[in-house]
Assembly symmetry: C2
Homo-oligomer: 441 residues x 2
């Protein structure tokens, strides 16, 4: 029986999950593939901790280098996380002729464009299903399942921490700061939550999805990114009254003519989606990705975006894919980014000012005559028309919150209008603008 | 550049869609794969109809035999539908060394077990993504994306016609017969709708999903099957009041001990799912499949279950998969049913009487003292406890509808109780029993 030999870097949460599957589901995996997957070695700095697993026959060591250069390993699983030394180890594994599987979205988002050509030259595969959407096989769906399509759009709830916080804020009418504290206590949010709540994690994942969708290069640093930290319980309530729910979405769309993609729109921000949509129903720490194509129309993929077992499920799916094509490598597998390396193109990121959006605007204004007239006449100057306007009850401060929904306009035009509006004497605080997406199913 | 040459049987709706993708997306497909897919020939009895496509360079003929035996074809796409002559052509194509892709769920459900070994012997692939869930890449998700998991359950809305009818009945408070007529006028339902509305189409698809999930053989004829034709607007309304929506679901679960599957539970019936679930949100002709595994937990896949373009998207995805592994065939691809042919096992279908369900019971009873006591005491005799009971307003006939939700019991026990209940003099019509699923996300 053909055997693929695996070396594992990192025996933390996910690494332990991967080892668990490879050990406990060994027979299932062989029945499925007709080939054998064997965990040969694993490296971690801490080998004393009891992981509740029988590692008999597995070489445990504290030196990752011993794994990436070993003669008896065909595939290296990188679960160290972060940029370095993960990048060095992955490059070394490829250099020594080993396939690579990783759950490291930061690595792929930042260094993927340096690693993919290394792999392609050697006929090796890089699998990173676990890097986006956790256990959901959404990379495979996009890369293979929808391969016959030119992709029209991608919308994703890609960060479980943000979705957990937004769900809890809505269910309990609680404020952001309180829910964040609770999420931290539960281990759903980091002590420094910036990476999650400011949308950076979502932007990394979105940049990978976009490049895979459009055959472009990954441009993580160019993703327009806003987080959820300015959203209040009152915003969630106001959106709900108007028929919407607020979700942190990653959004990618191609722009061009005649089927040619000339520029890629990529943005991450809190987004109003219709209460009756599938996306609005995605609660707690669940993730979901909507992918629409010119033939398939709308599709959606839903599941756990993180966690030991779901993430390990995605890592092992990649290992099994490579085992299916083994020996033989990339010649018999769909290319890692869904397009052969030589046909992937540098494409400019569309400036955010050109993005067409509908908007939710929340203002705090003085309770005096003429204020609403002044605000709406500025919007009219900019040819921005209103879909709805709600004036809420007056605060103790005698200030009045106003919430507006607008029809479509460009981001540049909206920002110009908002600068003028916030310059009005009667406007008391910075405006909050959120965006709305009608195309979410 | 490696080239895979395709021959197409049937230029109806889906066949035209497949030809359209292969012709119009030719460049996109090559950019993705680094290999070429060429439509070489197509057969249809009617070659005069204008299909709005430029078939230059494609050999059109009215003889399917000329395609299945041609020397210059590597893969045959069967889009004739039905059992015969589809089966004969597919067997002949495999015999002459050609890969096969089909959208024909009837063929796979009934004759798959005869065709898979033929393909395996020759190292050939049979692709049938389009047979279940239309454009949704759910076969690929189950077979490859979740391959590291022992599958715990599959729940699917697999028939767009039924989902369209149920959605319209709910939205308009309309009756089944009226909505069916409308669906027929719109072309969403056949003149003879039995195949769709009585759940047979769903059962075919479910039998394929179950065998792929558990490594068992396809046993379509053993699926317990009930359709939607007895459901009334009042049932939909009553379910809604209790927090549920009625969907026609295909349900498959494994039974056994120590990770060994000893029997497979397969049933198709109208099912109450929580209004707040993802599944309840799947409306109109959309399909969705929830697949849960021991590592990945719950996942769901959503999209168009039928139609020229979505179905063609799935067919071409299969063609592209085979092209990835070409030349080389099955050795480099996941096996068609997710387990190598030699490890797939005959497994008995669990008798429906053993299925554990929660129930919705609707009775029409005479408006007289003691009737509810008689009904509920029979349920108590059978140790069936109630979650809810609603007595609705009296009809003009002086009869009263009663709706009950029960906690879990076996189907056999429920059927015994229902026989006694319907034998009561005061019970005016046959009872309707529906089943409820709490595990739907």
């Amino acid at each position: 029986m053909v055997e693929l030999r695996v070396g594992l870097l990192g025996l933390g949460t996910i690494g332990t999950g991967v080892a668990r599957i490879l050990i406990e589901q060994k027979e299932l995996i062989s029945r499925r593939l007709g080939k054998r997957v064997t965990l040969v070695a694993a490296a971690d700095r801490d080998l004393t901790r009891d992981r509740g697993l029988d590692f008999t026959g597995v070489r445990l060591c504290d030196d990752a280098n011993a794994i990436v250069t070993a003669d008896d390993i065909d595939l290296v699983v990188e679960l160290i996380g972060g940029y370095e030394p993960a990048r060095t180890f992955v490059a070394a594994a490829l250099a020594s002729g080993k396939h690579v599987v990783t759950a490291n979205k930061a690595l792929i988002a930042k260094h993927g464009e340096e690693l993919f050509p290394l792999a392609a030259e050697k006929g090796l595969q890089i699998g990173f299903e676990a890097a986006v959407g956790g256990g959901i096989p959404c990379m495979k769906a996009l890369r293979e399942g929808l391969a016959a399509n030119a992709i029209d759009s991608v919308y994703g709830i890609l960060n479980g921490t943000c979705n957990f916080i937004l769900t809890k804020m809505e269910n309990e009418g609680a404020n952001y700061a309180d829910v964040l504290k609770e999420a931290q206590a539960l281990g759903y949010a980091e002590a420094d939550p910036t990476f999650d709540v400011e949308g950076i994690d979502t932007a990394q994942k979105l940049s990978i999805l976009a490049a895979m969708a459009f055959g472009s290069k990954i441009r993580f640093e160019e993703v327009f990114t806003e987080g959820i930290s300015r959203i209040t319980a009152a915003d969630i309530q106001a959106a709900h009254e108007m028929g919407y729910r607020i979700k942190l979405l990653g959004i990618a769309k191609p722009h061009g003519a005649n089927g040619q993609v000339d520029a890629v729109e990529m943005r991450v921000h809190p987004t109003l989606v219709s209460l009756s949509s599938q996306m609005a129903q995605v609660s707690d720490s669940y993730n979901a990705v909507q992918i629409s194509g010119d033939f398939v129309e709308h599709t959606m993929y839903f599941g756990r975006g993180a966690g030991e077992r779901p993430t390990a499920s995605a890592v092992v799916a990649d290992i099994m894919d490579i085992t299916s094509g083994f020996p033989g490598g990339i010649t018999h597998l769909a290319p890692p980014m869904g397009f052969v390396e030589s046909s992937r193109r540098e494409m400019p990121t569309m400036p955010m000012a050109d993005a067409l959006c509908e908007y939710y605007i929340r203002l705090m204004v003085q309770d005096q005559p003429g204020v609403i007239a002044a605000v709406t006449s500025i919007l009219a100057d900019h040819r921005i028309s209103l879909e709805a306007l709600i004036q809420k009850e007056r605060h103790a401060s005698h200030n009045v919150p106003i919430v507006m929904l607008t029809h479509e306009t460009t981001e540049g035009n909206m920002q110009a209008a908002i600068s003028r509006i916030t310059a009005l004497d009667a406007v008391q605080e910075d405006a909050l603008i959120l965006r709305k997406e009608s195309a979410v199913v």
